[in-house]
């Protein structure tokens, strides 16, 4: 077929196919994935006793708030990354707030905790729950989000997938944090971040595989 013929043929389909916008699909994907994650969470883990009282401490609240703040910022970036030539924009700088805050909290906790207690708080007693839980709780949301982003056209699929993983991990970590009773930043600033990093890496790998077009 000649290129001119192809163009003539494509032109007959000029009106845009009525399809839900990328943003709407992503919203639905996150909602469905989030529902699965929440169900999984309530069935297997559930919130800690005395959650509201614990959360009245701002340093405990931060372990829920920071990932919750990260999620929409990463989601917006993943949507930008799904459109060719759309820059990530100022969101990328805003997205630095949660990790920088976490690092600050870690340093603050390090300086205010007695030398003898630091290591015990850092290691805690639930790393073996924390890391797999954050990873697994992220997966349904990653799946929902990637399903939506496939309708986009990411020119760097791994980056787009990583951002989707980051957004999903933000939500999953916020949910997980209501179960976790390790309230020292020496614990959560490190291990939550590692869990989020794992989910982000999974997102990048899945993106390379499923976001190509």
């Amino acid at each position: 077929m000649k290129t001119e013929d192809l163009i003539a043929t494509l032109a007959t389909e000029a009106p845009m196919a009525p399809s839900a916008s990328l943003e709407r699909r992503a919203g639905l994907g996150v909602a469905f994935g989030g529902l699965v994650t929440l169900t999984l969470f309530f069935v297997v883990l559930g919130p800690r006793p005395g959650l509201l009282i614990a959360m009245s401490d701002p340093f405990t609240l931060a372990k829920t708030i920071l990932p919750l703040l990260l999620a929409p910022l990463a989601l917006i970036m993943s949507l930008h990354a799904a459109r060719p030539a759309v820059p990530l924009g100022v969101v990328r700088w805003l997205a630095l707030i949660p990790p920088v805050s976490a690092a600050g909290l870690f340093l603050w906790a390090f300086s205010t905790t007695g030398a003898g207690d630091r290591f015990a708080l850092f290691i805690g007693h639930s790393i073996q729950v924390c890391l797999p839980a954050i990873t697994i709780l992220s997966l349904p949301i990653i799946a929902g989000l990637l399903g939506a982003l496939r309708h986009g056209a990411p020119v760097r699929p791994a980056r787009c997938g990583a951002l989707a993983g980051l957004a999903s991990a933000g939500i999953a970590t916020a949910i997980y944090s209501t179960f976790c009773v390790e309230d020292s930043p020496l614990f959560y600033a490190v291990w939550y971040s590692l869990g989020i990093g794992i989910a982000t890496g999974i997102g990048a790998l899945l993106g390379m595989r499923y976001l190509r077009w």
Partner: protein, 186 residues
């Protein structure tokens, strides 16, 4: 660049309102620019036009990722670069390209087409969905017109042509990956 961007933006906005002529003009003006991008990567290769057509199909399939407030030219260049790199990756992996278009024509001519080629095509056709395969057989091999096939399948003539083209693009891709499996077998 800005002139072009404004003009293309205008054309695409009109295309989004269903103006086929504006869309045709946009694609016609974009084609030589895409060809330059492909050639920048490929040199004056015989396969250039195939890649140009793949880029045009990609632009068509992903036209909803352009928002009317975004500049058009960077969007279009990004797609062209991505699809060109993609085409080169799969071509490199696949070794030599099977000229499917020629193959289909050759088979349509008479029964004397290269029997290996005929077998290759038959095997590739098995790997795509039945509807697309039947369109390729009818249009590419039996030489039916898109209109006739469309009437039989209850599709518009344009839809048949696009389906035919997409099927050929997929066959090319499949032929590329098959080349790989055969190379590794040997």
């Amino acid at each position: 660049m800005t002139d072009r961007n404004d003009r293309w933006g205008d054309l695409l906005r009109r295309a989004n309102r269903g103006e086929a002529a504006a869309y045709a003009r946009f694609l016609t003006e974009a084609a030589p620019v895409i060809r330059n991008i492909v050639r920048g990567r490929a040199g004056m290769d015989a396969g250039t036009e195939d890649i140009v057509q793949e880029v045009l199909l990609a632009i068509h399939a992903k036209r909803h990722t352009w928002r009317e407030s975004d500049p058009v030219t960077p969007w279009l260049y990004a797609i062209a670069r991505y699809k060109t790199a993609d085409a080169f990756r799969s071509r490199k992996r696949g070794g030599t390209q099977v000229p499917l278009e020629d193959l289909a024509e050759q088979l349509a001519d008479d029964g004397s087409g290269d029997p290996t080629a005929a077998r290759d095509l038959a095997r590739l056709l098995d790997e795509i969905d039945d509807r697309s395969a039947s369109i390729v057989r009818a249009v590419g091999i039996e030489g039916e017109s898109a209109g006739e096939v469309g009437a039989r399948l209850g599709m518009s003539e344009g839809a048949v042509r696009v389906a035919y083209h997409r099927a050929l693009a997929r066959l090319r891709k499949l032929a590329g990956t098959e080349g790989l499996t055969e190379e590794t077998k040997e």
